[in-house]
Symmetry: C2
Subunit: 222 residues, 2 copies
């Protein structure tokens, strides 16, 4: 009984995700779904990115949380458009929530849409939100075994951001081990080591965003 | 359609959880369900506790992970009995998994059973595993807003372990803010600030375990 119910939920989600993707692609908007544990630094990465690339791109953010609008407020303080989704206990966003959030954004001229998922390394991975790519974040404070223990995310993500590298001297985290696991799961995974606190390593992430957005434009004209 | 299905799943889980609880209470075993984000330090806390209290208690561990038996191996290296459950993608343990894991442990003389749940601040909270108490772990690297953003765990837990306090000089974490949110959700919450790396603060946690185990004994005879 249980399996068909779950399958229907996932199928309905995928249909709506395709509609979201069409809607965004029609406007050349690159959509990125940020997934990580709670506290890995998704909002901090967005705050830095929105500020540092404000002159280059128009960006909008959909924030997902069980409760509070803290993250949407942090993001809006950078000047970017932000909408908060409260899942009220729900452990992941889905494409229907994203579709309804899009109705509350002004999409004219937007180049990049960031979807910050609920902090959870498991459930959000299964629900396509209509994004072009999933971005996995991992903080070095979480331990280097996380790609091995939560493989699906690292398998499906286009890029992995290894955040909080300023803490490396103070934690037992073997970068080579984390990278080796992640690459074993996904040979084409792009990896960025950075610190949102010190700013180290952000440039490579920004260059990748520019390339990804340019690729999205070519995808439309090509 | 979806709500009745979920309700049935939760009801079935609670029935089995009560059976697990009876089975453990019949042997005076204190059962604690450890819940946190990935990488907050559940396994590290167990490694320290199992080593430091080995002379006082007989302890056993049920380890929950999507994949790998890394954590059961780490815990078994302390000399404690350990069983690994692999949920293969499942985002939480449930009472049926725990019941089957108990069949693989020798429960004779065991004083404390630790259940280390899947790293996830959301889903494990909803599924009673037959424990006497849920223990919430939070690492200071995750940010002081987590009790506010993931309230159900901190509302239901008997104790909160604030781990990795050795990192406090290197992160923006306001202890008073985290504690205030947590206590607002749960006035009787016991809070332990400690570092599994330096050992600081572990004594208070050990004293609480001794008291909780003594309380369990009285619960039987009283």
């Amino acid at each position: 009984m249980q399996i068909p119910v779950i399958r229907n939920v996932l199928e309905a989600n995928e249909k709506m995700a395709d509609k979201v993707r069409e809607r965004l692609s029609g406007r050349d908007i690159l959509a990125l779904n940020l997934i990580s544990s709670p506290g890995a630094g998704k909002t901090s990465l967005l705050e830095r990115t929105l500020r540092d690339l404000a002159g280059k791109f128009r960006m909008a953010v959909i924030e997902g949380d069980l409760q509070t609008s803290n993250d949407a407020e942090r993001v809006a303080a950078t000047g970017a458009q932000a909408v908060q989704i409260n899942t009220e206990g729900g452990c992941h966003l889905n494409s229907d929530m994203v579709s309804r959030a899009l109705d509350k954004l002004s999409l004219d001229g937007v180049d990049i849409l960031f979807i910050e998922n609920v902090g959870n390394l498991v459930c959000p991975v299964e629900f396509d939100c209509g994004e072009d790519a999933k971005i996995a974040l991992l903080s070095v404070a979480e331990g280097d075994d996380k790609p091995e223990k939560y493989p699906l995310l690292f398998n499906l993500a286009k890029a992995m951001v290894l955040n909080k590298i300023d803490l490396l001297p103070h934690v037992d985290f073997d970068r080579a081990r984390a990278r080796a696991f992640a690459v074993k799961l996904n040979r084409s995974l792009e990896i960025f080591e950075l610190s949102c606190r010190s700013g180290e390593g952000l440039e490579a992430w920004y260059r990748w965003l520019e390339k990804a957005r340019a690729g999205k434009m070519r995808g439309r004209t090509g």
